[in-house]
Amino acid sequence: MGSSVTGTSIIKGLGFNSFGIGANACTVDIDEENDKILRIRPFHFDEHYTPEELNYWKIEARGHTFEPGLKTYISPLSLSYKKRVYSKNRIPCPLKRVDWDPDGERNPQNRGKSAYERISWDEATSIIAREIKRMHDTYGPEAILCEVDGHGETKVVHAAHGSITRLLDECGGYTLQSRNSDSWEGWYWGAKHIWGMDPLGQTSFQNNIIKDISENGDAVLFWGCDVETTPLGWGGYMASRICAWFTEIGVKQIHIAPDVNYTNAVHADKWIPVLPNTDAALQLAIAYTWIKEGTYDQAYLDTHAVGFDNFKYYVMGGEDGVPKTPKWAEAICGVPSYTIKALARYWARHAVSIAHCNGGSFIRSCFSHEPARLEVALLGMQGLGKPGANQFKMLEWTLFGIPTVTPLPPSTCIPNIGAAYLGFITGTKPSFIPKTMIPQAILNPPVQWYGHIAAGLPREDQFTGPFTFPVEGKSRIHMVWSDTPCWETCWNGGFKMQDALRHDSIEFVVIQHPWMENDCNFADIIIPSNTKFETEDIGTDNDSGQWTVVFYEKQAIKARMDSKSDVEGVAEIARALEKFGGVYENLHERFMGGKSFDEWIKAGFETCGIPEGAMTYEEFKEKQYYPFPTLENWEDMPAGLIGFHDDPEGNPLRTPSGKLEYYSTTLAQMFPDDKERGPIPRWVHVSDEHEERTNTERGRTYPFLLVSNHPHFRVHAQHDDVTWLREIETCKVVGPDGYRYEPIWVNPIDAGKLGLETGDIAKLYNERGGVLGGVIVSERIMPGALYQDHGSRVDSIVMGEGGLDRGGANNLIAPSATTSKNAAGEVTSGFLVNIEKVDVFALAEQYPEAFSRDYDPDCGLVATARMVEGA
């Protein structure tokens, strides 16, 4: 028990990793007497353990020392989490759409429009149970689409995602919305084919890369990488400290992107602006310069690569008559040819690595497999794996439990609390749909694609198929059950998803979530989940870059309002189903696996990797954490790909040849007619599905390319209601109507031409629809590109294709088509738009209903906006 000032200190993992993978260890001070959260602060590794016990590490280079410190570098999203718990956007109670009658008229066309009324938990669970039974009897289990992936709260025994599928696994199955490799699209679909690197496509060999760069590196290219934003939901600011360390020891940081992202803004030594999704042209021109000037490592390629001659032939213009010169590239990508040549020469003369943080136009545009492959092609031409020349990541340092993906000194163990996890684990099912194809699968089945699309599968899986939905003889979708209600604002072509959710074929939509936002507004029944502060749990934080740690998460406060955890809510539905007998018999017991929550937590503790005898369960609950020390002799681990560099035969890659495949024989064999993803990486201008280039017919109508990054003050769609973030001047733009609009950055040159000024409200649009935003005229975006983060909450003015959104959820107007024909990835950045100023008062007159919803400028959309009065 602490004093009244310090309170009682407990530990919570305040990230948005989900999938039972913890993150962002924080200490939370609570006032037990008053059932209140006092403050959120860094977690201290040394509260019960000494630096010697932690085997405290240091990197020493160039006369300087880099240290991990003894407390976590928490993110602003963790720090402001309290506001999510007490948000006015919290769903207060189970809700039913007023004009949805399971025994009569269901009015699917009114989803997204009609309001909700309060019902009891009993009523809600009994309706849901009845609908599940009806689906099973009428159509079969495949008629139920489960959406159980994405970045929910980091909870384990109260899993934010997948309690639904755990239940349906016990009574017949379902159709799974596949967990796309959304963070790594281009690398997954492209880079794998040149260098293997399963399961992500990004390098799997990162050990000691920070030490290696500190000792041997001259420069790091940040190709769209934003360490100040992207890691915040599943890490803290260790990556930012690495950038500061590079500055301290003189490692040059070069940023290549259309925008001055938050890392470029404070850490960059140089910015090379490149138009969105034109990186492939820039990369090809670098290759051209090296080939022409003879400044690449042919001897390395002779022993480490296959098919380089095919690539070289293409680069020099042999294949299409177009040499990929810097002048050729300049016209496409907007980088002056003299700068391209200077960059190529700099790179050839120095030890250069490339840093990534996922996200952005580089990796989430159409044909993103091409820049991803080309990056590896370039690294290969300069002796990939030599000292100071690797690819590495600034986040996800223990992803999938892989011990070789941390570039910092690793701990002895990557603890795994999977045994306690009561949610969905990435995998696949007989009936499944890529997340990117959900709207089409609902509206126009059948749909077809290649691969299981589950993030984490090996390269070969991309050649399995084609798969079809519906599975032969099985049903199309008639019910949607989601604990991930942000499809509209996070995926590709949200306006089409609005059409799908309102389609006649969808008889029932049920959503469970803590907050009333996005797809929630399309539900027929909503059940209120609570936040992790309201439950007891177990957690890990393996990605701080300091030490891996397992912790006990004491319940901070009582459950708020009429909420239950996702697992508790679904357990109630299990009980309601039991009355139907048969396959539903004893369902609650089966769903809970015969254990109490405490027993699940204990099971997690016992199997997570804490050495036997180190501490009892009671000691664990008392001390609240167990850290794993730094690996002995970590300094001796080979850095990055030095093994492959020194001995390619002894340390082959996971490509068919074991070498870098500039020409992929597998792609050539499997997809011989693929013009978008051919056997060698190319510049792809347009295709049957995508015309997202400015120098096209469409480009004349929609002359700007949109950059849509991971937001600074959200994790995708999470945190958009946090009052303390929204009041930051650059987080939202206050319109003349008092509404806080999502910012759009416009370069002064474009703003001048268009007559736009800071504070104007404008519409970003293409033929798929429009979204509003608040203009910030800024030098942080290059001319010809516009910038608006993704993930702002949807606030529909007109729903469906060609619609209009007030919230600035630009995924609504992203292309529906996937990365390319045989690559079912998302395209959510680097697409064409136009912009024009709007008069919000005229719009309010035109659309009085949309503009008169309950709204609190501080919090934005509030739950009451969608509820009938007095509900």
Binding site: A244, V266, L343, Y346, R349, W724, I728, M782, D858
Partner: protein, 278 residues
């Protein structure tokens, strides 16, 4: 002697943790006798100010922490005395200046008296409010919440004698007021202006590496020189806001002079073309 804050511009990355920590600590929490709760939004006992500098492609962002300066000769204390409420503001033995949440009730004049604009009048409570240095935590031997969450030690707090080296080279938020107010928040590496560009040979379509660029401050006559780097770039950092003549020289090229100003903002001169002599 006593407690001081030190803020380093060169280390701040603009994460806003300090601003959010202030809200986390003080909104909905009553830390009597030092502070009543801070309003949820609109008032900032500690905040980050952002400034975008330069032009494409030489752009940077600077951030500054703004909060009570815990002045040694605080204008708010004088104003309180003048208003007949001498107990409304007091200085603790450790130097932290506290607006007393009881004695200062109704003392709106305090908000107006602060030249730094960091005292806010809470209409709901009828109370002027500001940063307390988290005195309630300091009493427990803990750092202020904002300092605790800074990931780069850009914002520090501690005993004056421990920061002697920093204080020796520090500046103040408002230099012109420093002598009178004796502020106890010390700023390091306060940004001046930068001026940069890239030197190119357009005919050859190449950047010019190693060109000599000389900067002459027209007002002071001060001169400094730099060579272009491997990208043809030149940078002059931390220069005064002024009018400049910039001379460009490179072997085999005609020397060129251009005028440039940093009077109102940092300056990217863009590509500067040089022409071959022969």
């Amino acid at each position: 002697m006593g407690k001081v804050f030190v803020f380093d511009f060169a280390k701040c990355t603009g994460c806003r943790n300090c601003q959010l920590a202030c809200k986390d600590e003080h909104v909905d929490n009553d830390w009597a006798p030092y502070a009543a709760p801070q309003p949820d939004t609109g008032q900032f006992w500690g905040r980050i100010e952002e400034k975008v500098r330069g032009q494409v492609p030489k752009v940077r962002v600077s951030y500054a922490w703004r909060a009570c300066q815990h002045c040694g000769n605080a204008p708010c204390m004088a104003a309180a005395t003048a208003a007949g409420a001498p107990d409304a503001v007091y200085r603790r033995d450790d130097g932290l200046v506290i607006v007393d949440p009881v004695a200062a009730r109704g003392c709106e004049v305090l908000a107006e008296a602060c030249p730094y604009g960091v005292i806010f009048y809470n209409e709901e409570l009828g109370l002027p409010q500001k940063c307390t240095g988290c005195a309630h935590l300091v009493d427990e031997g803990l750092p202020p919440h904002c300092v605790d969450v800074c990931p780069h030690e850009a914002l520090r707090f501690g005993d004056e004698e421990d920061f002697a080296a920093e204080i020796a080279q520090a500046e103040f938020w408002m230099a012109e007021r420093a002598e009178a107010d004796e502020p106890r928040v010390y700023y390091l590496n306060k940004p001046r202006r930068f001026l940069g560009g890239v030197v190119v040979d357009l005919e050859a379509d190449e950047v010019i590496v190693g060109a000599k660029v000389t900067l002459e401050d027209v007002r002071t006559g001060a001169v400094q020189a730099a060579l272009t780097d491997e990208f043809g770039d030149f940078w002059f950092e931390q220069i005064p806001a002024s009018e400049y003549r910039v001379y460009f020289e490179a072997d085999g090229y005609l020397t060129r002079m251009l005028e440039a100003t940093t009077e109102n903002e940092d300056r990217n001169m863009g590509p500067v073309a040089l022409y071959a002599t022969a």
